[in-house]
């Protein structure tokens, strides 16, 4: 995709499709947890769908993704199939990680989901390494590290961005600023108004941009530019995508620490409602088309749940496997 190509209704629909898939997958997973059908520790991406979708549409399966515990939106946006994803949530041996890694450590190399970390900040140094390999091989791949606003205060963020800028790596640091880090508000942990500002600390090689991540066109455009920049060998980009976390930190978190007014104001700007209307207004699709999209997603999800439920659990001796490989 060329840098100059601009956002069209067709692009909007592409973003919508991914965002909607994330949205349905998340809603249904929470439904399964509520019903007691599965028991993962779950970090809902509700409210951040468009950020991940706007990222995903610019990447192909060869590109690399390093995401975090709150990562199912990124994984789905990257194209990961739902069957092995759900089977992992269901703790089955047919899961992407044989039930050994779990929801917080989803890995799926065929779609470029290389690492899902549960440690704040740790996706970034690893994404650098993937990008370094691409730079050496000249394979034109882009690596994306996603992380939250809170992760921008940990040492790994600084070391990773510094090295990426120094080596001009084809990597994108996508900060999903959802205003909270567990129970702590942004302003109670981060003394700078915008995380994108921090790009300045790494010199001209590091681009820094802040966008409304819940706006399809803004998010799509920022990623378009960052990907083009990376593929062209012009260096890394720090994208601060402003968004919000509707469901608290983990499943079950009532988020009493979020002021009622703030939550209501954010809820009123639900990106899924907005983008749906935008798609209809743009003429890219009609109600009936969107229903068809939902039907297709739900069908894949139904099949995935069926696959997961009917799959066997791992055998006990799995704890002795994959500790070391055969030398």
């Amino acid at each position: 995709m060329s840098t100059t190509e601009s956002f069209s209704p067709a692009h909007l629909l592409e973003v919508y499709k991914k965002a909607r898939k994330i949205n349905i997958v998340d809603e249904r997973i929470r439904g399964l947890i509520r019903s007691g059908a599965m028991h993962p520790v779950y970090y809902s991406p509700r409210g951040q769908e468009v950020v991940a979708a706007g990222m995903g549409v610019h990447l192909n399966s060869e590109d690399y993704l390093c995401t975090i515990y709150r990562g199912i939106h990124d994984q789905v946006a990257k194209g990961m199939p739902l069957d092995v994803l759900l089977a992992e949530y269901f703790m089955k041996v047919t899961g992407a990680c044989k039930g050994k890694g779990g929801a917080m450590h989803i890995t799926h190399p065929p779609t470029g989901v290389m690492v899902t970390t549960g440690v704040v900040g740790s996706s970034m140094p690893i994404a650098n390494g993937l990008a370094w390999a691409s730079q050496l091989k000249g394979d034109g791949r882009v690596s994306v590290a996603t992380f939250g606003d809170g992760a921008s205060n940990i040492g790994a963020f600084h070391e990773a961005l510094n090295l990426a800028a120094l080596w001009k790596l084809p990597v994108i640091f996508l900060c999903q600023n959802n205003r909270y880090q567990e129970c702590t508000a942004y302003e109670d942990s981060t003394p700078v108004e915008s995380i994108a500002t921090r790009a300045v600390a790494y010199g001209p090689n590091m681009a820094g941009v802040r966008v409304n991540g819940n706006d399809a066109e803004e998010m799509w455009t920022a990623m378009r530019d960052a990907v083009a920049r990376a593929r062209a060998g012009d260096g890394p980009t720090l994208i601060e995508a402003m968004t919000f976390r509707y469901m608290g930190h983990y499943f079950g978190d009532q988020a009493p620490y979020i002021p009622k007014e703030e939550l209501e104001a954010e809820m009123a700007k639900d990106p899924m409602i907005t983008i749906r209307q935008q798609v209809l207004d743009s003429g890219a699709a009609a109600e009936s088309d969107l229903d068809a999209i939902d039907a297709e997603i739900n069908a894949e999800f139904d099949a995935a749940v069926e696959f997961a439920k009917s799959s066997p659990e791992p055998e006990l001796d799995e704890v002795t496997k994959d500790v070391y490989g055969a030398a």
Binding site: H39, P40, V41, E88, M91, K92, C97, G99, K100, G101, G102, A103, M104, H105, T117, G118, V119, V120, G121, G150, A151, N153, I154, G155, A156, Q181, E182, C183, T184, A185, D188, S189, T190, P256, Y257, E313, P314, L316, D317, E318, V319, T320, V323
Partner: protein, 331 residues
């Protein structure tokens, strides 16, 4: 000891009493402030309003900065208690803990000391998988200058945490996440404290010494009567302070019983159990009637699937019983 309290309440009580007793006791960590709800595990709730909001500080997600701030404040006479939310995240702060907190007293020739307490939490069994469940106490036991403390009852939790806070050296206090809501009798005295560096023979026995700390003691307490009924008299030794290890107490116990089973939740290889076994065979060689047995978890990352985590990774209570019975058969 009358009314029952949970481990979480016990930690809160120790902090509350320590803050009341000494204005220099201050708390820092992620989400621990009142506005944030007193920590994800609610241990610090209410302490800010009661003792001063300034004394309970929520931090950014910056473990190096957290431990470093605790060290620095302690050098200036404060008694900081830092919370590292989960033990796997302590990996980010190893330099501050090992190269600085544990060594400054020695490297300064005793001119300075680092009276900090690092509270952290961990343990498998909650499907939290590979990066949220590790028991890493052995690393710190291998580091001179820091004390490693692990309670196994709410009363111990109160007394040992208070002792850590009052101690003149850095203490790593490890809380079990899985059993944090378990209840036990509360100490009926205020400012209850338990001396560090002393293991506790909580039940005398004649046939075999069960030496452990933390979670496995809870399993043993449940099975000890059954074993007695089968004519097996177990002496239960609760290390309480894992390092420095109370060699005298464990050696005296095993010289008496001639048999020992050592158990911990951490993975088996190169764990705390190995040091206990090594010291016992050094000091009790002639009195040993059977090989000392170790019960521990499997040498792998903590798996996600419940079946694997509970059925294959974690040590089993039945492993403890089996080890006790086998050692009596001289196996």
């Amino acid at each position: 000891m009358s009314d029952q309290i949970t481990f979480t309440q016990a930690y809160n009580r120790a902090l509350d009493e320590a803050m009341a007793a000494d204005p220099n006791v201050i708390l820092l960590g992620e989400d621990i402030g009142e506005k944030e709800g007193g920590g994800v595990f609610k241990v610090t709730g209410g302490l800010g309003p009661k003792h001063g909001m300034e004394r309970v500080r929520t931090t950014p997600i910056s473990e190096q900065a957290i431990v470093g701030a605790a060290i620095g404040a302690s050098l200036a006479g404060m008694k900081p208690v830092a919370e590292i939310m989960l033990m796997n995240f302590i990996t980010v702060a190893m330099d501050q803990i090992v190269n600085h907190a544990a060594k400054l007293r020695f490297m300064s020739g005793g001119q300075t000391n680092v009276p900090i307490t690092i509270r952290t939490r961990t343990g498998a069994g909650m499907s939290a998988a590979g990066q949220h469940s590790d028991m890493l106490e052995a690393w710190f036991c291998h580091t001179a200058g820091i004390k490693v403390v692990i309670p196994s009852t709410p009363a111990e939790a109160v007394g040992l945490l208070r002792a850590c806070i009052d101690d003149p050296d850095p203490c790593l206090f490890i809380e079990d996440a899985l059993t944090r809501a378990d209840k036990g009798p509360a100490p009926d005295v205020a400012n209850y404290s338990i001396p560090l560096g002393k293991a506790n023979v909580e039940k005398e026995g004649t046939d075999v010494s069960f030496i452990s700390y933390g979670r496995p003691l809870k399993d043993m307490r449940k099975m000890v009567d059954k074993l007695e009924a089968d004519g097996i008299s177990v002496e239960i030794v609760d290390l309480r302070t894992v390092s420095p290890l109370d060699t005298d107490t464990i050696v005296a116990s095993v010289n008496k019983t001639g048999r020992a089973v050592v158990a911990h939740e951490a993975v088996r290889s190169f764990g705390v159990g190995a040091e206990v076994v090594a010291r016992l065979q050094e000091h009790c060689f002639g009195n040993l009637k059977a090989p000392i047995k170790r019960v521990a978890s499997a040498d792998c990352a903590v798996p996600f699937a419940r079946k694997l985590e509970h059925g294959a990774f974690l040590y089993q209570a039945s492993d403890i019983e089996k080890a006790i019975r086998e050692t009596l058969e001289g196996k």
